[in-house]
Symmetry: C2
Subunit: 347 residues, 2 copies
């Protein structure tokens, strides 16, 4: 296995280098055999490395980039006018094979647009997709949902490609053998899905290389009914955001409820501890690191608000994807599926 | 104001008449001036009325219907082959002006298909929509989301009609003056919405009769950013089900957390009480009663699993919609909007 190198957008995220640098030091110490390139304002990074005692680590290097993509900057503007941004230069490292993966906590839209422009999609993949794992009722089981918002006008061909990518990612990242792949749909009998879903289901059911199990509904995301759940990016993004919305609402209600009802401080304390543990199980930051799948290279998107621990998780995801050479595995599987389809003359 | 009469599908729901009859008795006692027609198997209903002491109430009557639509029966089959079902006969009461509203806890798909066939949509409304209120971070504020699954291939014209219906419902049901209407969308800069949403936003912004405030995202449903949130039924259904899914997951985690961590029984007891109160605030059954809007008559869908209390809430919603003569108000508002558009030559 080739030595793994990560190119890290050191300036991305709400807290930029002050979170990224210590997180990188943490993972660099865990994985001395992996190399880490911190891309961004050299002076700032150097100072933080010293501050956090990372300047002595031989597997961390710095690559200067003079510009920073702002969190709310227009992605197209970032792509056009900031060719020396830490994000862009980190992606260039992957393009030029100086790194096998790029990790950024920066502007999601800018990362998607720039990554797609710099790295290009894999052969057989028309569009990249964003995915991350969702907790389920099944202890230790997670489901991968894609797309979460990279594409909002998906064709059934795009959804088929998402299904193939999801299947590979579930095997490689979640280590699930022959993962089940389902299509997100709605329940009412007489409106079993829209035209897109019906057409896609018909195609997926003909692909032997996929363990396609049919339709699931929104609540199945958290039931663990399927390992991979495929949907258009508009639907996936709404499902993700609505889930975050009601989760925040419930936690706010819990906070109010307990502060209203608990008499003794000790009880409130126990409750807080218990709820903190529980919240941890559902908190996306605990398994931070969304994957931009379908590109010629590994790209991991960390939450913009990620803390050191969460960003470290995104780095570990990047290392894992690079070690498993996931892009190559996706390319191979897509090729296999396309060949089989041409043979079956599905189209 | 004309006397209000409700036609109630007495056999609908998981528990049928054994829940519907006592719930009806409860509301009939609250509202002696409102009449309630229990539609279904006369003998069963008669027995339950006697059992629950409702046989003496003069504002409850029985209308016999010999068939029952099963909860998982195909809606088209129910429509075609069960013309004497309690659901169908209750809807016929509304059609023939014997009742001003129909309330059913039966098969959702069958109710949608049969209601649309029997009552027809209002002038200017191409398709009915399902909506219900969602709890938000704002104390005492709810948002109406539509469509939740009646239509999964909506055109922008359909979404505009949903917006008008939602606006009327928010004023009449939630008593919000000049309710704000938003369009559900996704966040990423460069993919600000799919083609449908962009086209719809353009149209909504030209309708002066609506307080259109632009785009919101999935988490805004629970933030209370807008009073009415409009989306295609596929998206709305996924958002609703995903929310239910993660809510169940969180409550399951809470249950586990507390049973694991609380030592003393008294603490566990306080916690249970507190959580029960909190869960109540988020529980859809607490404000049970989804509205099938856009039909020539009031149709309220109760949860199939509704208990007596929840079904009573659905009945109260039916009474309220009938008292406010909501269908007529929707028709008038749609007409007003259509006229204005023709005048503005929007199309």
């Amino acid at each position: 296995m080739n030595p793994i190198t990560l190119a890290i957008d050191a300036m991305g995220g709400d807290d930029g280098a002050s979170v990224v640098v210590p997180a990188t030091i943490r993972v660099a110490k865990e994985r001395p055999e992996v190399s880490f390139i911190l891309v961004g304002l050299e002076h700032d990074i150097q100072q933080l490395l010293r501050k956090h005692g990372g300047d002595s680590l031989t597997n961390i290097s710095i690559k200067h980039a003079s510009e920073v993509v702002e969190m709310h900057e227009s992605p197209t503007n970032a792509l056009r006018s900031k060719k020396d941004s830490s994000m862009r230069v980190a992606l260039d490292c992957v393009k030029h094979r100086q790194a096998s993966a790029c990790v950024s906590a920066g502007n999601t839209g800018a990362l998607m647009v720039t990554a797609r422009f710099v790295l290009k999609t894999l052969a057989g993949i028309d569009r990249p997709a964003i995915t991350t794992r969702f907790p389920t009722m099944k202890e230790g089981h997670y489901s991968l949902v894609l797309d979460l918002g990279a594409n909002v006008n998906s064709s059934s061909e795009h959804l088929v490609q998402f299904a193939v990518m999801g299947s590979v990612l579930a095997s490689e990242v979640l280590q699930i053998e022959n993962p089940s792949v389902a299509l997100l749909n709605v329940g009412e009998e007489e409106i079993k899905g829209n035209d897109l879903v019906k057409a896609t289901s018909n195609e997926l059911s003909q692909i032997k290389a996929l363990n396609y199990t049919g339709y699931v509904e929104g609540d199945d995301i958290y039931k663990g009914t399927a390992d991979v759940i495929v949907c258009d990016g508009f639907v996936g993004n709404v499902a993700l955001k609505a889930s975050e919305g009601i989760a925040h609402l419930i936690f706010e209600y819990i906070r109010q409820t307990f502060t209203h009802n608990f008499m003794s401080k000790c009880v409130a304390l126990i409750a807080r501890r218990a709820l903190k543990r529980m919240k941890k199980r559902i908190d996306p930051a605990e398994y931070n690191g969304a994957i931009l799948a379908g590109l010629q290279g590994v790209v991991v998107k960390s939450h913009g608000g990620a803390n050191e621990k969460a960003f470290a998780n995104a780095l570990r995801t990047g290392v894992r994807l690079a070690e498993k050479n996931v892009p190559e595995k996706i390319r191979a599987r897509v090729e296999q599926v396309l060949d089989a389809r041409q043979a079956n003359d599905v189209f």
